[in-house]
Symmetry: C2
Subunit: 484 residues, 2 copies
């Protein structure tokens, strides 16, 4: 029956000695999100989800790991970047590399043929991280895809509309979307004299044009990939072409750049229809037609696009992309089945970085944490803490964000200073006197007013003074702007 | 300059032949979330986040994998359930097992000493899955923790209040929270004559009491863990005791069950203070004081609790739990540093299952997918699709969820039937005539009315008729109930 203090001390010591020998850290290429950063991420996701939902998309989720065989043979050279799980008996597993292949697998497993869905989730790549440019090994993708047989270029145009609306709604400055067509690219390679079996590898080389100069890409084509210099130069004449959609379309057609190449003319017809639809949805102004855009992944079969942030006329990084991939789902289906699919993926890490930079500029170097609306304090007497708890609980029940100081008896002076420092707009103060009469004081720290109120009227008074219940912020913003 | 059709055919063939030999599937113990299920999950998360936020908690996130050494030595016997990543060069990594150890690591890495935070994320356990009972290998946890030195039992009481508010707000029926104290349990073992070095292992045995009968737990104590029968029987007399908080407290104290055992009396004083606070926050009604509650994990040092769903008087499964763990963070800090912490974790899979069952009952077997507010259709003439796109885009810009049929020229009759079948409440219809005058028709499918409106007034009319912009649903609900 000895006291347990000695035993506890021993337990603590054994716990402490089990501690880490070196400073703890996060895995390479990953990061913690601190509250200020999470507030930004939450804002970005809220904006993005709103766009997805107003387009009538439904949400799905898939496991973060898939059977290894599900991912095998889908990513070409990038397959080496896939994280495998250890063999601990049982299935061979790997972390998902993107949300597109899991979506294709999802359609096959759940026998879904038509769907407009969005999916927000983390993906994993054992890439060389470049944290300053927002490139991580764990990062979020926000995907919107339409699967099913529909009018020519109709779902394609909605995917692009969604991308434009998201980038327009996010506070990240100017952006543009580069557009091309995988079959047009193939036609160009065909016209230039590239043999069909080299289409994909030459495509990969063209894809590097936004990072490398033409000379380097040409060298890769000729030296590494065995193209003749003539053929490479002919490609070079095509891939410099870019411009406003109708200007490009008209000049390519007028100059008969593709002769009567059936594949090229068919792809150009796709582009024409797409431009008309994008115009109807007032999105054509964001688009440029760019023959150098190739997109790395093998599975694209139609229109392809990439969204870039602009700083004036300078491109400051890719923030998303996508395209049509009509045969990826087939890889998981019975032979002969085809589920045509088109989608867009927004890479959110780059968006966070841009939003963070903007907020830091706006708020003078620091980013404000999300805040509570009311601090409940007490002034002298018995059972102060319980009085504070009782009142705070009333506010919680009305969905008002409220806190009380977790010390037993903090000084009121200190409480007020704390509220001012944290920018909390209202205080509710209860003293022994008020408690007896079931009253409390409401202090408006911005208006510098104070009034006494009956506790049953407290919530109504705070709402009158402009306190917004948690979850109603966006509705109130709409109301204020006269949009609701 | 051959046409590329033959080449495409070849590409398709090679893609198809690269397909899977067997039917694709998800890894064992995991699942896809279909749109109906995601709608439920989204509703649950929205409710839970609202509670966290009104308590002034900030949100954080951590990577889904940690350095293996971060997780080592924290989970006792359960460590064998941790998923390791394959060694592909570089660091040794493992998927997180819970959000608590990553939180402790987070506090140390980011030098955070005081925080009230929540974290919603997936965790991973190589457990035997029991899908029907909602036990998966990948599942969500929703954690709320308070770290820092505060008034005695104050943060503990707020964690319990948060748990009660969440379970009360979720549409899952009745629930209760079982409460105990780790130091009280230690004191009981001490009083019964268990040697200190066997406290943890006997604790693990007691923890099984909600799944196994006392006889089996007693057998484990005596046969497997070497306790004498007498000692086990004495423990048996304690662990049957449970009841309403003050009843239990008073009878234990009156009957002097713990004699003058310092550790026990100290823990009982904790309980007394906690009950007073829970009463002030109107949460004591949900609590039972249960001496059989032990909680498996080693790191608890104070109050412990577990939330259970009730069906009448029958317990139908644990949906969360937590407690105080004052020394876990120390394992990542310099020797001698202590960051006292208390938290609660809601296991959401079980909640989904309960919500799903309820909805299925309410909606007669099927669960409704989330829906759009407006279907935009066209009636005859040229450029129908573009007219539909133009109008739909106006609605999107006003944050109204709207769709148009993605076929080129669907029959209006078919469109109306489709809207009725999907339960879409409004249609906007544009014909060649209306398009010329910049007008359209608004059809209210519930009220069976139709009127013509100038396009610039379309959004206002729909809002008047009760269409709610995306993201304003909760605010409108509050308004309707007169709470906003």
């Amino acid at each position: 029956n000895e006291d347990t203090v000695a035993q506890l001390d021993k337990a603590i010591e054994s716990l402490l000695s089990g501690g880490m020998q070196r400073k703890p850290k996060v895995p390479k290429g990953t990061r913690d999100y601190l509250p200020e950063q999470m507030a930004i991420r939450d804002e970005a996701f809220t904006i993005i989800r709103r766009v997805f939902k107003r387009h009538g998309a439904v949400e799905i989720d898939t496991p973060v790991f898939e059977l290894k065989e599900t991912l095998t043979g889908k990513y070409g050279e990038d397959s080496k970047l896939i994280y495998d799980l250890a063999d601990q008996g049982g299935e061979r597993l790997a972390l998902r590399y993107d949300l597109t292949v899991p979506f294709a697998r999802f359609l096959a497993v759940n026998a879904v043929g038509n769907i407009k869905r969005f999916h927000i989730g983390k993906v994993y790549r054992r890439d060389q991280p470049a944290l300053s440019r927002g490139r991580y090994r764990e990062f979020y993708q926000c995907d919107f895809d339409i699967a099913g047989v529909y009018g020519r270029m109709v779902p394609d145009s909605e995917c692009l509309a969604v991308a434009c609306e998201i980038l327009d709604a996010l506070p990240i400055g100017d952006f543009g979307i580069k557009l091309n067509h995988r079959r047009l690219l193939d036609a160009i390679l065909d016209i230039c004299g590239v043999p069909a079996e080299k289409f994909r590898t030459i495509c990969s080389a063209v894809d590097k044009l936004d990072k490398e100069p033409w000379e380097e890409v040409r060298r890769e084509m000729v030296e590494d990939k065995g193209l003749s210099g003539d053929v490479a130069d002919r490609i070079g004449e095509f891939v410099v072409l870019k411009g406003k959609p109708w200007d490009m379309y008209n000049s390519l057609m007028t100059e008969k750049k593709f002769g009567d190449h059936k594949g090229a003319l068919d792809a150009m017809e796709d582009m024409k229809i797409l431009f008309e639809y994008l115009d109807a949805m007032d999105k054509l102004k964001f688009i440029s037609f760019d023959l150098s855009l190739a997109r790395g992944l093998d599975y694209y079969t139609g229109v392809i696009y990439e969204a870039v942030c602009m700083n004036g006329n300078t491109q400051v990084g890719s923030i998303g992309g996508g395209g049509r991939y009509d045969y990826l789902v087939s890889m998981f289906q019975e032979a002969g089945k085809v589920t045509p699919t088109v989608g867009v993926s927004v890479g959110i890490e780059r968006v966070f970085t841009l939003m963070e930079e903007r907020l830091q500029k706006e708020q003078g170097g620091t980013i404000k944490q999300p805040n509570v609306s009311v601090l409940v304090a007490s002034a002298g007497g018995e059972n102060q803490l319980q009085h504070r708890m009782r009142l705070t609980n009333l506010l919680w029940a009305a969905n008002i964000s409220a806190e009380f100081n977790q010390q037993e008896n903090p000084k009121l002076k200190f409480e007020i200073a704390n509220a001012l420092e944290r920018g909390i707009p209202f205080m509710v103060i209860v003293g022994e006197e008020e408690a007896k009469e079931n009253k409390c004081k409401v202090k408006d720290l911005n208006a510098r007013t104070e009034e006494t109120v009956d506790v049953p009227n407290l919530v109504a008074l705070l709402r009158e003074k402009g306190v917004i219940p948690v979850g109603c912020e966006f509705a109130m913003e709409l109301l204020k702007n006269g949009k609701a």
